[in-house]
């Protein structure tokens, strides 16, 4: 387990996340240009750039284009972020403005 106490936020945390492991796999379900969907896109981008750097794969799925995926994933509320990897799968509903909650479901502990 990386020793976060010895490292600063941001870049160094990103370097220690998932070293030698598979990337984070994230799916964000949105709908059109609704305000919360737009905010969710911008917020997840910020968090990924700050804490995950290149250790992630993000798919942003508009349910208009892929209602079948929404059915498979049992989506009820939009926007919703699904963390497919690392397991277990976790979800967070809403515009992702609460970064602490997002980091919690990403299993990222800040020093």
């Amino acid at each position: 387990m990386p020793d976060f106490k010895k490292q600063s936020r941001g870049k160094n945390i990103a370097e220690n996340v998932n070293i030698g492991k598979q990337k984070y796999i994230l799916r964000l379900f949105i709908t059109g240009v609704m305000l919360n969907s737009i905010n969710a896109i911008r917020n997840i981008n910020k968090i990924c750039e700050l804490y995950l750097k290149e250790n992630y794969e993000l798919e942003i799925i508009d349910i208009y284009h892929h209602p079948e995926i929404a059915k498979i994933e049992q989506i009820i509320i939009i926007p919703v972020l699904i963390v497919k990897y690392p397991k277990p799968e976790r979800r967070l509903v809403g515009d992702l403005s609460n970064s602490e909650k997002v980091l919690e479901i990403l299993n990222i502990n800040l020093p």
Binding site: V33, L35, I60, P67, I76, I77, I78
Partner: protein
């Protein structure tokens, strides 16, 4: 008998677990709706799943834009693609899930970045601009007329871009220009040849005249 009881117990346990899971999902959904930070509820229907938007009215326009052959993207002021129709995703040869959230600059070659920055900067809301920009698609530059409109949505300024592929027109223009220059060179060569022939004719005519004397 014991097996039946065990099966029944297992089924009951599964039902309780499913109920708990569903309760959690619904609880989260209700909290989300109450807090106002969700956009839509997605529910199963008899004829397929239906998304119910909590604040809607735009479905007709959405269908219209989605069926356009031109690429349509909406950008946040920082260039993040917050909306794309399928035509634009096809233009850049990516699945649409990989287009949304990217910065528009990711798709523009360095030769046209300055044009793009000029296009998105320095003019007011509700005004539009048009220019020709290339997109870098798998290392191949394709040319587009871009019509850009700045507008206010929700609480920020967005950029609505319509991309019309003019690659074929550009190629035709290049071919016509090349053909024109080739023709022009041929005409010059023919003129030169004609001059030489005229000179030769005059020389021969004079020689014949001198011989007859």
């Amino acid at each position: 008998m014991n097996n039946d009881i065990t099966d029944l117990l297992n089924q009951t346990k599964k039902l309780f677990n499913d109920k708990d899971e569903l309760f959690l999902k619904l609880h989260e959904a209700i909290i989300g709706i109450k807090n106002g930070n969700v956009d839509a509820v997605f529910v199963p229907g008899e004829k397929g799943e239906k998304g119910l938007k909590l604040n809607d009215g735009d479905q007709t326009y959405r269908n219209f834009i989605e069926n356009m052959s031109e690429g349509v993207v909406m950008l946040h002021a920082d260039g993040t693609i917050i909306y794309s129709n399928l035509s634009f995703a096809k233009m850049v040869n990516l699945p649409i899930e990989k287009v949304l959230g990217k910065n528009m600059r990711h798709f523009i070659p360095s030769t046209d970045i300055e044009t793009f920055e000029r296009l998105i900067d320095g003019y007011p809301v509700d005004h539009s601009k048009v220019d020709i920009i290339s997109l870098n698609v798998n290392g191949i530059e394709t040319h587009f007329i871009v019509s850009l409109n700045k507008l206010k949505i929700h609480n920020f300024t967005a950029l609505n871009c319509v991309w019309t592929d003019v690659t074929i027109q550009k190629q035709t223009e290049a071919a016509l220009t090349s053909a024109y220059h080739a023709c022009k060179n041929e005409v010059e060569d023919l003129k030169l040849a004609q001059k030489k022939l005229t000179l030769l004719y005059n020389t021969l005519k004079e020689d014949i005249h001198n011989t007859r004397r």
